[in-house]
C-alpha cells in the first residue's frame, strides 16, 4: 500500500461512478426482485427453485459448466505449454489461432458448428465416406454438441490465463530439475504443473463462471434436455413475466459465482504464497 494522492482518487471516481450506475445499481435492482415477491410469500418463490424444472436446469448448468471447464483445461494446457516454450513465428501463429476465433461472434461460431455437424454436414459426410459409420451420427442438439461449442468459445480464456502464468515460471527451475535427473514427465509434474496452479485456477474459474451464464451456444446447439439456466431466465423474463422467479434464479447464479470467487481467492493466496515464498 502506498499513500494515495488526490489525483488517484479523482481518477478512480469516474470508473467507480460508472460501475455503480451501470452495474451495481441494476444488479441490486435485480436482486431486489428476488426479495420482494408482491402477493406471493417470499419463501414460496425461493422454494420454487427446488421444483423439478429449476433443479434439473440448475444441475444441467453446473454439470455442463464443469465439463466445459475440464475440456478447456485438457485442451488448453498442452496448447499453453507449446506457446510458452516457443518463440517468434511459432508463438505468434499459435496465439493467432487462439485469438482469431475469439474475435468472432459467438452466434457466427455456433452456426459454423451447425454447418459442420448437421445430419449431412462436413463431419458426417467425411465419416460416412471413410466408412466409419453408415448412418449420420447425431452431434447436434446433444450435450456433446453443446460442450464442443462452448469449449471452443471459452478455450481462449483458459489459454490466456495459463500462458500468463506459465510465462512467469523461472526457467532455471526447469533446468535445475533436468540437471538433477528428472525426466520430462517428472519436470511436468514437479515443476510446471505445481508452479502453474494459480493460472490453472484462474483459467478454470473464468471458464466455469462464463459457462454458467452462457445463452447462445446451448440455445443453438443444444437439444431438448440441454436447457441451461440463462435460457430459462429469459423465458421467465420475456414470456411468462415471472420476474421474481427469474430474479431468484439470477441471484442463485450470482451467489454461486461469489462463493466460487471467495474460494478461488483463498486458494490462490495460498498457492501464490507457496510460489513466492
Amino acid at each position: 500500500m502506498y499513500p494515495r494522492s488526490r489525483l488517484d482518487l479523482l481518477l478512480l471516481l469516474l470508473p467507480v461512478l460508472f460501475l455503480v450506475v451501470f452495474f451495481l445499481w441494476p444488479l441490486l435492482y435485480i436482486v431486489s426482485y428476488s426479495l420482494i415477491s408482491g402477493d406471493k410469500p417470499l419463501v414460496s418463490v425461493w422454494a420454487s427453485i427446488f421444483d423439478t424444472v429449476q433443479l434439473t436446469v440448475l444441475w444441467n448448468t453446473f454439470r455442463i459448466a464443469a465439463l466445459v471447464t475440464l475440456a478447456s483445461l485438457a485442451l488448453g494446457y498442452p496448447l499453453a505449454m507449446f506457446i510458452t516454450n516457443s518463440n517468434g513465428l511459432a508463438r505468434n501463429v499459435a496465439m493467432a489461432i487462439v485469438i482469431i476465433p475469439f474475435c468472432t461472434s459467438v452466434v457466427v461460431r455456433a452456426y459454423a458448428w451447425i454447418a459442420l455437424f448437421q445430419r449431412f454436414g462436413v463431419v458426417n459426410k467425411v465419416l460416412m465416406w471413410l466408412g466409419i459409420t453408415h448412418q449420420p451420427l447425431k452431434f447436434l442438439y446433444t450435450e456433446l454438441g453443446v460442450i464442443i461449442g462452448m469449449t471452443h468459445a471459452l478455450l481462449p480464456f483458459m489459454v490466456f490465463a495459463l500462458v500468463a502464468s506459465l510465462d512467469r515460471i523461472d526457467r532455471t527451475l526447469v533446468r535445475a530439475a533436468e540437471t538433477l535427473g528428472a525426466g520430462p514427465l517428472q519436470v511436468l509434474s514437479k515443476v510446471w504443473i505445481p508452479m502453474s496452479m494459480p493460472g490453472v485456477l484462474a483459467g478454470c474459474l473464468l471458464v466455469f463462471i462464463s459457462s454458467l451464464g452462457f445463452y447462445v451456444t446451448p440455445a443453438l446447439l443444444g437439444g431438448r434436455e440441454q436447457t441451461m439456466v440463462a435460457v430459462l431466465i429469459e423465458q421467465y423474463v420475456n414470456r411468462t413475466l415471472n420476474w421474481s422467479l427469474a430474479s431468484v434464479l439470477g441471484t442463485t447464479l450470482l451467489l454461486a459465482t461469489c462463493i466460487l470467487y471467495v474460494f478461488y481467492e483463498r486458494i490462490s493466496i495460498r498457492a501464490g504464497s507457496r510460489v513466492e515464498g
Binding site: G38, Y141, R224, T227, L241
Partner: protein, 353 residues
C-alpha cells in the same frame, strides 16, 4: 403486506441515485398536441420494411405524423416502460398477439377504440378489447421435397405426429406457445375443441414423437434446417419458408390446419400520445394498406376487403385465401395469457425429462 419495489429501493439506495436513473426516462411534458412523430417498436427485418411501405409512409402522407421504427419491444420491456412512464421509447407497439394478450392481462395497455373502425370487415378472431391484430402469420406443416412429394407428404398434424407412417426427423419451435397448440391438433383434437387447450394431450403427443423431434429456436433457423436437409418435416412459419421455397430450396408447405397468430397493435397504458396512436390503429385497418403489406411479405390481411386488392397469385399464397381459410385455426391468445404459466411449466418438464 405489499411494499412497492421502487419505493423500497429509493429509500434503501438514496433518493439521489433513484432520481438520477428515473430522471433519464421522464417525459418532458404530457403531450396532447399533434406530435411530429410516433415511435413504434416493431418486428424488424423484412416485416418492418413492409409495414413502413404499407402503413407508416401512407400515414405520414395523410397526417404529417412520421412513424419511427424501434427495436422490438416484448411485454417485459413494455412493463418497464409503463412502470417508468418512459413514453419517448414507444407510442404504439407492433407486438406478437400472444404477448399483447399478456400485456392486456397485466393492465399495461389501453383499450382499443373501435368507433372509427369498420369492425364487420375485420376477421373476428383478430379483434380484442385491448389489442387488434394487423397482419397474420401462419404456422404451417412443411416438408423437404427431396424426402416427400406433394402426394406422399403428410397432410395433417395427426400425420406429422405419426412417425411410423411418415418417418424422418421433424422440427418444431422450442416454445410452448404454438408448438403445444399444434401438438394438441396432432393428438386428434378437432379445431372447435382446441381451447381450452388439453395440456396433457399435447405433452402426450410430443412424448410420442420425441425420438424424432428436433427443436429450432428462431424462424431463420427453421428455414435453414429444412433447406439443408437437416429435417424432413417441420412446423415452420410460412413467412419464413416463402423465400427459400421461391428460391428453389427443397421446401414445400400446406395451409391445411395452419395455426394463425399475428402482430397486434397496442398502445401503452397512459401514453400521452394515445389519441394519435389510436388514429394510426384506425389507419392500419385500411384494406388497401393491408393488401400492400401482403404483396410485399406473405403475412395475411385481417380486413377481408383487402383480398379484393390482391393479385390472385398473391392471395393463393396466403392462409386467408378462399381455398385455405376453411381449414385454418386461430390461436387463442387469451387462453395463453391466462394459462401460459401452466403450459410453459408442462412444456419445460417435457423438454428436460
Amino acid at each position: 403486506m405489499t411494499i412497492k419495489r421502487r419505493t423500497l429501493l429509493k429509500a434503501g439506495m438514496g433518493a439521489g441515485l433513484a432520481g438520477m436513473t428515473s430522471g433519464l426516462f421522464t417525459p418532458a411534458l404530457a403531450q396532447t398536441n399533434k406530435p411530429d412523430h410516433l415511435v413504434i417498436p416493431d418486428a424488424g427485418g423484412i416485416l418492418r420494411d413492409a409495414y413502413k411501405k404499407a402503413h407508416y409512409d401512407t400515414f405520414e402522407a395523410k397526417t404529417g405524423i412520421k412513424l419511427v421504427s424501434a427495436e422490438y419491444m416484448g411485454v417485459a420491456q413494455l412493463k418497464a416502460l409503463v412502470d417508468n412512464q418512459a413514453w419517448g421509447q414507444a407510442d404504439i407497439l407492433s407486438i406478437a398477439s400472444g404477448e399483447a394478450a399478456v400485456a392486456a392481462k397485466q393492465g399495461l395497455i389501453e383499450k382499443i377504440d373501435y368507433s372509427n373502425i369498420d369492425r364487420a370487415k375485420l376477421i373476428p378472431e383478430t379483434v380484442y378489447d385491448n389489442f387488434m391484430l394487423t397482419s397474420l402469420s401462419a404456422s404451417v406443416l412443411a416438408w423437404n421435397t427431396k424426402k416427400y412429394s406433394d402426394s406422399t407428404a403428410p397432410k395433417t398434424w395427426a400425420n406429422f405426429f405419426d412417425p411410423q407412417a411418415f418417418p424422418g426427423p421433424r422440427g418444431m419451435w422450442k416454445n410452448a406457445s404454438l408448438t403445444m397448440d399444434i401438438a394438441a391438433l396432432g393428438a386428434g383434437i378437432p379445431k372447435e375443441k382446441l381451447y381450452p387447450l388439453n395440456i396433457d394431450a399435447a405433452i402426450g403427443a410430443l412424448t410420442k414423437i420425441k425420438d424424432d423431434l428436433i427443436f429450432w429456436e428462431h424462424g431463420a433457423q427453421s428455414a435453414q434446417m429444412l433447406a439443408d436437409n437437416e429435417l424432413d418435416l417441420e412446423f415452420g412459419w410460412a413467412g419464413r419458408l416463402f423465400t427459400p421455397k421461391k428460391n428453389g430450396d427443397p421446401v414445400a408447405y400446406t395451409f391445411n390446419q395452419a395455426v394463425l397468430d399475428g402482430d397486434a397493435a397496442v398502445i401503452p397504458k397512459g401514453s400521452p400520445n394515445r389519441k394519435w396512436a389510436q388514429m394510426f390503429v384506425d389507419h392500419m385497418t385500411d384494406p388497401e394498406n393491408q393488401a400492400a403489406l401482403a404483396s410485399i411479405v406473405p403475412y395475411a390481411p385481417t380486413n377481408v376487403d383487402a383480398q379484393k386488392f390482391l393479385k390472385p397469385e398473391v392471395l393463393a399464397g396466403l392462409p386467408v385465401s378462399p381455398e385455405s381459410f376453411g381449414s385454418v385455426i386461430f390461436q387463442d391468445p387469451i387462453w395463453w395469457a391466462d394459462n401460459g404459466d401452466a403450459a410453459f411449466d408442462a412444456f419445460n418438464k417435457f423438454l428436460l425429462g
